[in-house]
Symmetry: C2
Subunit: 413 residues, 2 copies
Amino acid sequence: MSASISPLAPKSYPEMPEIAGARIGVAEAGIKYKGRKDLLVMVFDEGTAVAGVFTRSRCPSAPVEFCRRNLSGGKARILVVNSGNANAFTGRKGREATSLTAEAAARAAGAEPDTVFLASTGVIGEPLEAGRFTHLLGELAAGAEAGRWEEAARAIMTTDTYPKFVTASARLGDCTVTINGIAKGAGMIAPDMATMLSFVATDAPIAAPVLQDILAKATAKTFNAVTVDSDTSTSDTLMLFATGKAAERGAPWITDAKDSRLSPFKRALGKLLKTLALQVVRDGEGARKQVEITVTGAKSARSAKRVALSIANSPLVKTAVAGEDANWGRIVMAVGKAGEPADRDLLSIWFGDIRVAFEGERDPGYSEEQASDYMRRDEISIRVDLGLGRGSATVWTCDLTKEYVAINGDYRS
Amino acid sequence: MSASISPLAPKSYPEMPEIAGARIGVAEAGIKYKGRKDLLVMVFDEGTAVAGVFTRSRCPSAPVEFCRRNLSGGKARILVVNSGNANAFTGRKGREATSLTAEAAARAAGAEPDTVFLASTGVIGEPLEAGRFTHLLGELAAGAEAGRWEEAARAIMTTDTYPKFVTASARLGDCTVTINGIAKGAGMIAPDMATMLSFVATDAPIAAPVLQDILAKATAKTFNAVTVDSDTSTSDTLMLFATGKAAERGAPWITDAKDSRLSPFKRALGKLLKTLALQVVRDGEGARKQVEITVTGAKSARSAKRVALSIANSPLVKTAVAGEDANWGRIVMAVGKAGEPADRDLLSIWFGDIRVAFEGERDPGYSEEQASDYMRRDEISIRVDLGLGRGSATVWTCDLTKEYVAINGDYRS
């Protein structure tokens, strides 16, 4: 783990309310880290629906393959997450570890095996000794409590420098429902995937297929629009659990994704996922600045997102931001290499409100001093207008600093 | 420019022979750098054929657009290269600068305007004041000499820490012909392009269409198989000039790319381009290690190259190499994110001769100590077998160090 907390850490954290029907237990299993919690169990009441989005890696971890299989049932009773070892690229041993964990978890929750979900994060390629923690699951599940969300967020951290958790509420019919979410980063963060690890729970009564539909849509503009280093983990997992307990207080059961009563919930979920995604970016390994990149005027939204990601993933752009250098020439380079339609002589570029380039040339009113001044901020906004069409997209990233190299060159050794 | 010379710099340099029909002049024009040569002129005798490969950026520099237009004529009389300013994203002013330079160059060489070629390298987005050096071209061309290849290599450097030049010879019919080449790096180096800047000249009598054919083919496995940071320059240019002077010594005129007498020349050119490409990689900004990545067992050669580049461009792989960490889990990650066919449980991975992973698991004989020992070398070789088919590819890159970030965070400021 990194020694010092990111300067972009939240200034304050919310009080996390309880989610009726969801209980949390954490423990110190000593999987890799010493002197800290590295095991999380979430137990859900019967009737809990589940949705999930996972990495698009062609070499996913054993837990990701396990979750994909169980997701089709749409029901969840227990989630087990360990940090310190990703159980990825562990072959037959990896499948044995997920089987052992799942059996112990099902026993602990008194539930069917196909209602168990697992996630692992940490080093890749080393066998996970499930025996180190399977004996703890019974006690953890029995002692789980509803109000331990911050502890849950801390137990899943790896190189994160701060815990990531957030809460939201929304009207559903005549009732207010609650949504809680936790996440962990902090390297191997790039779209083309679900996300790192993030677990969200709500008491809203929403059927599993509807839950899956709204989660997938909300992911595209949140977790799949952030990138730290363009590297996609084998283990990225985002899961959403709906206990349905708010039905006891009069909330309506939602079984149709087009149900208009769902709109406030969708908005609240989208905002919550965006907050978590940005907390991940702001804790990108070595990050000192948050960078928002908006591309407008593209031929399509898809094209805009590809150009935006080409900028966000360019090492030369990211090091320039780290050096507080308004080097918009590198933005042009990144637009050019994206392979998407672009006409150099129609390009305009802004840093914040400062237009630095207009119609393919340096802006006549460009002031190096003004632009450099802007670059000293913690939050940098870059906008590129391609001048070709109406497609637009926004993505978020962080700068690339010497600390990123230090953290990732020394992670295992 | 960087303060210290890369530890991977060549231990020795070749004596550069003359290329009959090609003469070189260099000067200090003060475009950006002080106290060093930043202007190169190559003058070619009448009858010189030319070929070129350029960046695939959608936002190419003004000189790249200029060269593409003149290339169709197939004839070259003069090449002008400046360092310090790339004349890229300079709009109308950029085209004015190339026009002014081209007119002055044509006058200087007493040649037609469509036999002029231009290249610029350095900062993007700042207008190039051609007036700073156009008045020098007449004298430079008049005083150009055949034996100044090392000076030429030095005049085109930007953040390069050492000059890049190499020579080769080949049989052509009953005659020996010579090939000289120079290049410059050192950031924004990635395939999907021709290359940074590289200029190669030979006295072999080869027709322009044949020259273009063999240059394009040789590029795929040399300059287009290296990457420093995945960033593609707006200015990448590789040109090959053939003066044909060896015909006076009895070399045959080659007008057909399939002419079997051309085989030794093709091999020599390929080797020369690979040497230059590796010199560029070994001088990648902040580079401390050269990394060769070979992917075998892919569904196709194209698929193998995409997987190899995914590994070569992964910040997490590159920082692990910098940290001398045999972190093969990150290789798996990079295979997984490439989006190409891969089966986790068929993967095998080697560092040098050490097999670290076999059929999707850590190799039973894996020794952390042995692998760590290997990682201390200057030249690291990584091989991945996908176990799916017969496609293979090799690419080269360097490690990602704190110095890369330092160089690129401070380049302009």
